[in-house]
């Protein structure tokens, strides 16, 4: 830290009233932000990241109580009047939000929403303001800024919307830009583009940034310094490499280790987990906020607690946990990680990769499956001639951008929607398309896990009712005592106790809900479990424990998984085979290692390149896709990816369907390119 801090937060506290008494959202929080510096803020949801940013902007709900100081250029923002704050908001400190679509006013044109910022703060006239807006849009390499300015928010795509929001924040050349999860609502490919833009901003516009995210991969990419928040407090902050490579606080370390990342595969290691979940903090709670979940907890934790500078610029609230590891070397850590001997991982079983040598037996085969949704005159081709196989005791990961048809595939297989074309073969025979025509056996043997456990468990039922209903309905267990016994047995398998039987979903945490959902699915001993973004809605620490549980359950039951996810790292971690989809069609299919290493389908290559990398050392020359997938109602003659492909050959791509190109016995892609054209940088 060579420069004088631009923003200095001192002992900031924010409290909200609630039915159960006052809760603390931000507590005794202090940090400095220097000029031209980017501070990344990470933490799980409910840790107060967003509250921090709104507290800086002095935009909290009426009941909130604030304490401490937010010094901006030496002046305390908390003491400023609404009128004085107006001069700062959008002018000196600007914000970019998680969901660009809802942050833009649906009734005003983009141009008007941009212009008003310059007109309010820079006193520009109508034409000058528009000129400024167009210039800024142009600087963010947006083609046709005039066209964008004329349009309404709903007429432009999410990626452009977020660029507009960034442009809006840049109009007055602010001193600080706060970005609150600006890419969370976007597809991975768009996210990569936005992140590239953000990474270049601070140099170009000479400003500081606070970048809030739950994803350490993203934070690593854009930040100079990183602050880790837990339950309203900063538990550690310091230079980005230090935080990533040598975390001192047990929470930081646990958080980083529970993320699946390159090189971590289920055969090698189980994921690290943090027991429990983030709880709200009441006003009268004292002591280390993490103590309850900390593996390094010791009797002294209650008193010996507080942010201390362990080395220049690196602060942590707990210096004792890993003191014995100092001095530390990067090589030692890398070696430890490569062998899977990360110390905290205990009790998790290390699995062997499924061997394909003795001829895998297919459990599920899709043959030319098509699913069309017709509304009015248009037809959305959600699935358009999909073929693939899923083997017994095997995990097939399905990846692709939103709208690629991966969820539809899951629903068609599970029976929620009947395919319009093609056949689904399951366990040797064809099964009926929709649940209405499936028999009890088929319903029992194919189970579905949904993305949002809060929505998949009926909030009006107790866990007992939720678990016993399938026993009665699918397995015909008549005896209530027997049902209860089996429900309890299943609960134990998902690491929940009998006491959960009487609880309702509302009283469960996200991870507990998903465990109950898993218990419900496994009660009927399924042969196939379709996991539709089963861990996407969960915090990383919870995601890790659920992924571990999924692996354990599979090992125990021998069931096969169809694991649908937008997160390549997660798919890479859990899958044996991977299927890459684009616009309702298959791009690439093969064993995991074959798919994630060259030769790739150009789309796979782009996806892999866009994935945020947890490890900052692994930055390479990126491939960036333009725009988003095309209108799914338009019939496609050639390759669906042709329009965005960086390796497009020529008209053949647009006009002729790509051939199936077998790269090995277990690996094929659909592309016009010759195999040698499919090379790329090694990724994983």
């Amino acid at each position: 830290m060579t420069n004088k801090p631009l923003l200095s937060v001192r002992n900031l506290g924010v409290r909200f009233p609630s039915p159960d008494g006052e809760v603390v959202a931000v507590r005794d929080l202090s940090f400095d932000l220097g000029r031209r510096e980017t501070l990344g803020v990470i933490g799980e949801s409910g840790c107060g990241k967003s509250t921090l940013s709104y507290a800086i902007m002095d935009y909290l709900s009426a009941g909130a109580r604030r304490s401490g100081a937010v010094l901006f250029k030496g002046q305390d923002l908390l003491l400023k009047s609404e009128r004085e704050m107006r001069e700062i908001r959008g002018n000196r400190i600007a914000m970019v939000y998680q969901n660009p679509y809802s942050a833009l006013n649906p009734s005003l044109t983009i141009g008007e929403q941009l212009d008003e910022v310059s007109r309010a703060h820079r006193n520009l006239g109508k034409d000058e303001a528009r000129e400024a807006s167009l210039t800024t849009l142009r600087e963010l390499s947006l083609g046709d800024p005039e066209g964008v300015a004329r349009r309404y928010p709903h007429q432009i795509s999410g990626g452009i919307q977020q660029r507009v929001c960034i442009a809006m924040a840049l109009l007055c050349r602010p001193d600080i830009m706060i970005l609150d999860e600006p890419t969370t609502a976007l597809d991975v490919t768009t996210e990569a583009v936005i992140l590239d833009i953000v990474a270049g901003l601070k140099e170009r516009y000479d400003m500081s940034m606070i970048y809030i995210s739950h994803d350490i991969g993203i934070v690593n990419k854009v930040s100079d310094r990183v602050a880790v928040m837990y339950r309203g407090e900063i538990v550690e902050h310091g230079p980005q490499e230090r935080i990533y490579e040598r975390p001192e606080h047990p929470y930081t370390r646990a958080l980083i280790n529970c993320m699946p990342r390159a090189g971590v595969k289920k055969e090698l290691t189980a994921l690290n987990t943090i027991p429990g979940y983030v709880k709200r903090r009441s006003a009268d709670e004292e002591g280390c906020p993490f103590a309850e979940r900390c593996v390094k907890r010791s009797p002294g934790c209650e008193d010996d607690y507080g942010l201390a500078e362990l080395e220049p610029g690196h602060f942590a609230a707990c210096g004792r946990a890993y003191a014995d590891e100092r001095p530390w070397t990067r090589e030692a850590e890398a070696a430890a990680r490569a062998t899977g001997a990360v110390p905290e991982i205990a009790g998790a079983e290390v699995r062997e990769a499924t061997s394909d040598e003795n001829g895998p037996e297919p459990l599920l085969s899709l043959r030319g499956v098509g699913k069309f949704y017709r509304n009015q005159k248009k037809t959305v081709r959600a699935l358009d001639g999909v073929d693939f196989e899923l083997f017994k005791d095997d995990v097939l990961g399905v990846v692709g951008e939103s709208g690629c048809g991966k969820s539809t595939a899951g629903h068609v297989i599970a029976g929620l929607a009947a395919a319009d074309r093609g056949a689904i073969l399951f366990d040797g025979g064809e099964i009926a398309g929709s649940w209405q025509r499936r028999d009890r056996r088929a319903l029992r043997e194919v189970q579905l896990i949904f993305q949002n456990p809060g929505r998949s468990l009926n909030p009006s039922f107790s866990v007992q009712a939720i678990l016993e209903r399938p026993l009665k309905k699918l397995l015909g267990v008549k005896d209530p005592a027997e049902r209860r016994r089996r429900a309890v047995e299943m609960l134990r398998k998902v690491d929940l106790g009998e006491e959960y039987l009487s609880r309702r979903p509302r009283r469960l945490s996200g991870g507990e809900k998903q465990r109950v959902a898993l218990a419900r699915a496994f009660l009927s001993s399924p042969k196939l479990l379709v996991c539709d973004e089963a861990t996407s809605a969960l915090d990383v620490s919870v995601q890790a424990s659920v992924l571990n549980l999924l692996n354990e359950l599979q090992a125990e039951s021998g069931a096969s998984y169809l694991f649908i996810s937008h997160d390549l790292n997660v798919v890479n971690y859990v899958s044996d085979h991977v299927l890459v989809m684009y616009l309702g069609r298959v791009c690439e299919y093969g064993r995991r290692d074959e798919v994630v290493t060259p030769p790739y389908h150009p789309y796979t290559e782009a996806l892999l390149s866009a994935a945020p990398e947890v490890d900052p050392a692994r930055r390479d020359k990126p491939i960036r896709l333009k725009g988003s997938p095309p209108d799914p109602t338009r019939p496609i003659r050639g390759c669906p990816f042709a329009g965005r492909c960086h390796k497009k050959i020529g008209p053949i791509c647009d006009e002729t369907p790509p051939p199936r190109l077998a790269l090995s016995a277990t690996h094929h892609i659909y592309c016009h390119l010759p195999p040698e054209g499919l090379q790329g940088a090694v990724r994983l």
Binding site: P19, A414, G415, L416, W435, Q436, R438, R440, L443, V446, Q447, L448, F450, Q451, N452, R455, S456, L457, N458, P459, S460, R469, P470, K473, L474, R520
Partner: protein, 276 residues
């Protein structure tokens, strides 16, 4: 339950409404048996006597009937008809709205179009025409017709309550268990859609009171001597100058009851819908 208590403490208006409604219910149940005068007895010595005179707390009307007794007795019919109406229209509305929303597609489209048509006839007009044509406004006929007039609106509410739950995955989970449509609609969805439906029931309760009173005013509502509040207002409108109390107190009775129910409905809407 805790949440309700907390919300009630933060919303004293709703508590007032609850107390007022409870007071009306108690009055309706026990009032007639403790009051000094019967609701039909004619005190020929004190026609149009002012409140407080001759033991008539709220005065008498032109026939010497005790206004207080008539209001208290009238609360019975208005409360019971309004309650039955809101229940019937809600049950019918839920059955119709749920079926339409659940099965969707063409059934739903046709159903919605039909509702549009029915909704186009204002409920008051519909009830007035039918009751006027029947020429007989018994409690049963009134309840039935007002229920029918209100069913389209409740069906819409029920339908949208169902639609907000229908896309949730626990419904898909139930389907994948092979549950019947009725089970999914009424066991899986109904408990979760009950918030807006309850709000609708209470709002309908308030509307029913107004509707019954208005029909009474138009002369097609409950028939005398049932002391229907709306009818009391119109009956005594003639003597508004001589005996303003005979008009004012029934009007206030209507207002207080509707406002009480509306406050409760508002509160339920806040507690059951917006906070979720």
């Amino acid at each position: 339950m805790n949440k309700l208590g907390y919300a009630l403490r933060r919303n004293p208006a709703a508590a007032v409404g609850l107390v007022a409604l409870a007071a009306w219910v108690v009055l309706a149940l026990v009032g007639p048996s403790v009051l000094r005068f019967s609701h039909t007895a004619m005190d020929m010595e004190s026609q149009l006597s002012a409140p407080g005179l001759n033991g008539h707390a709220l005065g008498t009307d032109a026939l010497g009937r005790d206004i207080l007794s008539r209001i208290v007795y009238g609360s019975r019919s208005i409360l019971s008809v309004a309650l039955l109406t809101s229940l019937f229209s809600s049950v019918a509305g839920v059955a119709l709205g749920f079926s339409a929303g659940y099965f969707g597609g063409k059934i739903d489209a046709a159903f919605m179009r039909f509702l549009d048509i029915l909704m186009a006839i204002p409920p008051l007009v519909l009830s007035m025409v039918v009751l006027g044509a029947l020429g007989d406004s018994s409690v049963g006929a009134l309840t039935l017709i007002v229920s029918i007039a209100y069913t389209p609106a409740t069906a819409r509410v029920a339908r949208s309550a169902l639609l907000s739950c229908k896309s949730l995955e626990y419904v898909d989970a139930a389907r994948l268990r092979g549950e019947s449509h009725a089970y999914i609609m009424f066991v899986e969805i109904l408990p979760n859609a009950i918030g807006p439906i309850l709000v609708e029931v209470t709002a309908r309760f308030a509307y029913s009171i107004m509707m019954i009173a208005s029909l009474g005013f138009l002369g097609v509502g409950l028939q005398p001597p049932t002391p229907d509040w709306g009818m009391m207002v119109i009956e005594n409108k003639t003597v508004i100058r001589e005996a303003p109390w005979a008009v004012l107190y029934p009007s206030l009775a209507i207002a207080s009851l509707v406002i009480a129910v509306s406050l409760i409905s508002d509160f339920l809407a806040k507690a059951l819908i917006h906070d979720e």
